[in-house]
């Protein structure tokens, strides 16, 4: 007798270990592939995994095998026109059968491509960083009240009348008020009918009945179709709610001194910030502001990939941020975050102005302002002026990033304060 076993409830992840081994072994190649793809990917696109291709030759498992060449004889099915001694031109790629058989053993494709999950992607992206448990970093949230439905009431303003419910209660009132007279009416009518049929009509009784019937009908007609008593109103109450929307301003210097590597680092930083915000807020808007001597609001594409030459005036970007906040993002409704990435260059006379702008106009409105200086050099003038803001404003932070590995530690440093 056969033994029948249902293995379906067993875990299906038998290959997970091997898959992890594979990713671990080819971490370097996968990271390279991801680094190339990060430039093709939007800052806000963090919910999906990534498709990765690595060269097949890197992952092949060598064995002693026979190559093409020498004298080989093969048997094939389906002869149609060949006769012994026929000569055929050698097909390119070494003939059908042999060529395909070889591809079973892992040759033939130049690229080995596969999908990695979101978690694996982020792991690779912020390699060695160990993504923090962001949820622990609960931010102080803005609250605002929101109108929500709260059932029905018996009084209210005419605009809130709920017609269906009002008519329904009118109907039930009419049914309730009319039930007794209607029953009485049916009885009297029946009696009256019977009286008419009998020989020798009792005129007095008839008249009495007719009057009573008339009175009942009048009473029934007087039941109102709708009464103020029937009216039902939709009820609304104000409920305080944490604001679930946030806006993130990405400010970046695009003057000639910002090279592609610096921008890549900035991009990773923005991705991390975005990820952080989406864990805390329902909707996150992103505003990209780039600047050299003048600031401009742009889309993501232009933000990361266009280059400008010329000098640098940081205050232009700060001013534009201030204006956009005033126009579109009232601080009462929005949690506003801003992150500024720069290589530290600024026109010297502008730096004090920046400090002023931040202290007076921006920081009071912002949840948080993060400044990252991406440079291997010493600090520049802007840094010194920003430093003076640190003591007075706890929602202001600044850090220096020298190389990609600094991104996460810097990020954690930024948000450490708020975790307490």
């Amino acid at each position: 007798m056969a033994q029948l076993i249902d293995r379906r409830p067993n875990s299906k992840g038998k290959s997970t270990v091997n898959r992890q081994r594979f990713l671990r072994r080819y971490k370097k190649q996968i990271k390279e592939a991801i680094s190339e793809q990060i430039s093709k990917r939007s800052v806000t696109d963090i919910d999906s995994g990534e498709s990765v291709s690595i060269p097949t030759r890197d992952i092949s498992e060598p064995t002693f095998r026979r190559d093409k060449g020498g004298v080989q004889e093969g048997v094939y099915p389906g002869n149609k026109e060949f006769a012994p001694g026929d000569r055929i031109k050698r097909p390119v790629n070494g003939g059908q059968g042999q060529g395909r058989r070889a591809s079973d053993s892992g040759e033939g494709d130049d690229e080995f491509s596969f999908e990695i999950s979101q978690d694996e992607y982020l792991d690779m992206l912020f390699d060695d960083l160990e993504l923090p448990n962001l949820k622990k970093n609960q931010l102080r949230k803005m609250t605002r009240s929101r109108t929500v439905r709260a059932g029905f009431t018996n009084d209210g303003v005419p605009t809130n009348i709920n017609i269906v419910r009002s008519l329904r209660s009118a109907l039930s009132r009419r049914v309730a008020m009319g039930a007794e007279p209607r029953r009485r009416l049916r009885e009297l009518e029946a009696e009256f009918e019977q009286l008419q049929q009998t020989v020798g009509v009792d005129e007095a009784r008839c008249l009495e009945l007719q009057q009573e019937i008339e009175a009942l009908r009048l009473r029934l007609r007087k039941i109102p179709f709708i009464d103020t008593f029937d009216l039902r109103f939709n009820n609304f109450v104000q409920r305080p709610e944490p604001t679930a929307q946030a806006v993130m301003f990405c400010l970046m210097d695009v003057s000639g001194s910002m090279d592609r590597e610096t921008k890549d680092i900035a991009k990773r930083f923005y991705i991390l910030l975005y990820l952080f915000l989406t864990r805390s807020y329902r909707d996150v808007d992103v505003v990209y502001i780039r600047h050299h001597t003048r600031a401009k609001e742009v889309d993501e594409e232009e933000f990361f990939y266009s280059r400008e030459t010329g000098g640098t005036i940081v205050s232009s970007a700060l001013e534009l941020t201030r204006d956009i906040i005033a126009q579109r993002y009232p601080p009462g409704d929005w949690n506003i975050y801003a992150a500024q990435a720069s290589d530290g260059d600024n026109w010297n006379d502008d730096s004090p102005h920046c400090q002023q702008l931040l202290a007076k106009a921006l920081l009071p409105q912002l949840r948080y302002y993060a400044y990252v200086e991406i440079t291997r050099r010493d600090h520049q003038g802007l840094w010194e002026h920003y430093e003076r803001l640190l003591d007075a404003h706890e929602n202001f932070a600044m850090q220096q990033i020298r190389e990609p590995a600094d991104i996460y530690p810097v990020f954690r440093e930024f948000f450490r304060k708020q975790a307490q």
Partner: protein, 497 residues
Amino acid sequence: MRDPISTGAEWTFELIEQYHAEIAAIAEEFGLDTYPNQIELITAEQMLDAYASIGMPIGYSHWSFGKHFIRNEQQYRRGRMGLAYEIVINSNPCIAYLMEENTMMMQALVIAHACFGHNSFFKGNYLFRAWTDAEAIIDYLVFAKRYISDCEERYGIEEVENLLDSCHALQNHGVDRYKRPNPVSMREEQERLKEREAYLQSQVNDLWLKTVPQKSAEQERAERPNFPEEPQENILYFVEKNAPLLEPWQREVVRIVRKIGQYFYPQRQTQVMNEGWACFWHYHLINELYDRGRLTDGFMLEFLQSHTNVVAQPEFDSQYFSGINPYALGYAMMTDIKRICVDPDEEDRAWFPDIAGSDWQQTLDFAMRNFKDESFISQYLSPRLIREFKLFSILDDEEQSELEVTSIHNDAGYRHIRQALSNQYNLSMNEPNIQVYNVDVRGDRSLTLRHVPHNNVPLADTSSEVLKHLRRLWGFNVRLETIGIDGEVLSTDECAA
């Protein structure tokens, strides 16, 4: 009068048991000798898992299995690859995995195919009987998995992974072709382990320590015998026993890879026969069940459709062609042997005088037990089949600018085609002939391999990578010499530290 076991497409455990019981009864009437069956129902994901570990129910962890898993999963999800309906393990009891997605018909087909076809082949064929031990394989795999994960804990994942990489590269050259290996079992294996470690180390030390140079190097080189005295084809075995620097645990890992390679070796040599035998029997068992009125007509039509797909042979110029389909060839040959027994014509009597008209069950049973693909084809491929498949042979000589059609399906060509097809399944002609030739015992301890090309077919350029792996195992320089027809060394590829 029809009295079908079931009418719907849905399977249940009760139905599977009932089908199994009915098929088992018929199989017994046909005299199929099988191990007891263990049928396991699995999901598609689990099937992918099983694929990745090359059908081993329990496998040690290694990145290459992860690679296979990712590749299969990718192809499966994009719809480029269907999954097998079943996987069957050569063990006692014989484990067959059935997919949850299969219809009732497919489950019955798979039961007939795997649980009786493959199962009886595993139990009967001489290669499996001689080279594998169905009783012990599961235990051994459990032992191997545990041993390797212990090693990982003790010596680090990377260390073990590198060692396994090197062993895998040589797995095909870790097979004893001519002598029966000892059966393996977990308990004995563990008992012997300690003893063997100590003994092996002492052997190795013996070999190297007692070789104190006495005469001049030149004189010595001329006189001394080769070590090994005879060339050894089992490279992994040679490494396991003689590599100077391997730790005992490393020798054990080499041994594990070698044993598992050995376990799969018969499967690689009997693909056509094994599949042909299983297809032949699923066809006969299901048909018999139908003749007895236990199946509906709808079941039968669905069955025939699947069966025809499995045993179809696309022609060489078809876009679906990817070599000769072992299912098609094997099934056709098994069916043809039955035909020769039951209803022979003049040609059959001339070609197969000893089996024409004999009892077909006995003849088939004999064929199943005593052959492998290569000998099976050269023994039983009939002219009629060559005509049916319209087989032709092509000679590809790199010195000629064109390919030559050497034989086609005519009187003059039958024998040649049969021989050529048989050679195609001869592993020893299709795998490069590489043997351990010499170790410079008293000198730099370098290892020399010799490759004797068959028909001047060169080695693929992966061989230098394999040499690096061998160097890692051996610990000293490794050299690969290519030998010409007259025994002269044509070229040398060396992998030095």
